[in-house]
């Protein structure tokens, strides 16, 4: 019974994943002609269009960055750097329909670079409680802190694929392009990351699927 329900839900989950991506604007997987026109205007240097793109995509980029780097301050830096790179390299985006994955690729690589830089300089290990210093820390639940801890135990590469998949619903082929790895690697990394998360969280919800 539960499995049948889950199977039905998978289709729903996939739709949600495909359509929710641009978390503040809901564009990834559902960009339309107006969105493409906006990106084209931004490419031509239209200041208003660039501002709108940034406004719409900042949440998407920040969440991606945070999921990978695990530090709020680093995630903010990565977000700024990502948009600066977007602005500088708009000329290399030949097909505006690929804008979400193109931007995700920039954000992911920038975030992974930041993690590597942090590791090289032997800074402290990710402080999963750092986010509790955020303004709305009071409202953060233990569950979210547990997730942060579990994510911190994954490698950056595993965090990257997990964040891009779970939050934004890119399919395996898109993930392979974004991460520049074979589809088989995407599949195995996701599997490994989820199994490790499952063990770390060790918190099956009563009744499984709601």
């Amino acid at each position: 019974m539960a499995v049948r329900y889950t199977i039905q839900r998978i289709g729903v989950h996939r739709e949600i994943g495909r359509g929710r991506g641009l978390c503040d604007g809901g564009i990834i997987g559902g960009m339309n002609e107006a969105d493409w026109a906006l990106v084209r205007r931004a490419q031509r240097g239209d200041r208003d269009a660039v501002t709108t793109v940034i406004t719409r995509y900042q949440g998407y980029v920040y969440r991606t960055a945070y999921g990978i780097v695990q530090y709020a301050a680093d995630a903010e830096d990565v977000t700024q750097e990502t948009f600066l790179k977007m602005y500088r390299s708009f000329q290399t985006l030949h097909d505006v329909r690929t804008f979400p994955s193109w931007l995700a690729r920039i954000a992911t690589r920038t975030a992974l670079d930041r993690v590597a830089q942090r590791e090289r300089t032997h800074l402290a290990s990710p402080d999963v409680l750092e986010a509790t210093a955020a303004p709305d820390a009071v409202h953060r639940s233990d569950l979210q802190i547990d997730v942060a801890r579990a994510l911190a135990d994954l490698t950056p590469a595993h965090r990257a694929v997990l964040v891009l998949r779970e939050v934004y619903g890119f399919d395996y082929a898109e993930l392979a392009q974004i991460l520049d790895v074979p589809v088989g690697t995407v599949r195995s990394r996701l599997h490994h990351a989820r199994m490790q998360l499952r063990t770390a969280l060790d918190a099956p919800e009563e009744g499984g699927s709601r």
């Binding site: 499995v3 501002t51 940034i54 600066l84 500088r88 000329q91 942060a148 395996y172 699927s209």
Partner: protein, 167 residues
């Protein structure tokens, strides 16, 4: 399929990334194996927790203002432009073509003086040199264009040697 084989594919099953037959086989297995079913449900719950946690992540105050300030403070001159590289390639090409003529003339004159040849006896040589010059011009033009493309590709969007981000 055995439980071990099923477990290895549960993640792809969750993402609906399996072919229809495999998907159906795993569904059938899950419906009769409580252990694999429990594994699947906890896997799905973990995925849902990650989504919920990241969805609830607060945006830092002033993030957008910071991005806009950084982007629009960027000098337009600092933006690498494809046009710039194309122009550079064209410049290299023109320089190559202009260099062919004097090299051909000087080279021909030198050969003529050294060998003491007359115009009449070697009438075919200018034609030969002309052919060589034309070939060199083609090579120079191709080299200029290729050079421009390589520069765009190598310098890329970061100017740090990475390839383009185009998926």
């Amino acid at each position: 399929m055995r439980c071990h084989d099923i477990e290895a594919q549960l993640s792809a099953y969750l993402d609906a990334e399996l072919d229809r037959e495999t998907h159906a086989a795993i569904t059938a297995h899950l419906n009769r194996c409580p252990q694999c079913q429990a594994t699947f449900l906890t896997l799905e719950a973990a995925a849902r927790q990650v989504r919920a946690a990241l969805d609830a992540l607060p945006m830092p105050p002033g993030l957008e203002a910071g991005i806009l300030a950084q982007v629009f403070n960027e000098s337009p001159d600092a933006r690498p432009s494809a046009t710039r590289w194309v122009a550079l390639g064209a410049l290299v090409t023109v320089a190559g073509l202009l260099g062919i003529a004097p090299i051909t003339i000087v080279g021909w004159s030198t050969v003529r003086l050294l060998l003491g040849l007359t115009w009449h006896s070697i009438a075919f040589v200018p034609g030969l040199l002309g052919g060589v010059g034309t070939l060199a011009a083609i090579v120079a033009a191709a080299g200029g264009g290729l050079g421009a493309l390589l520069l765009v590709g190598r310098l890329g969007p970061h100017g740090d040697g990475r390839p383009s981000y185009e998926p």
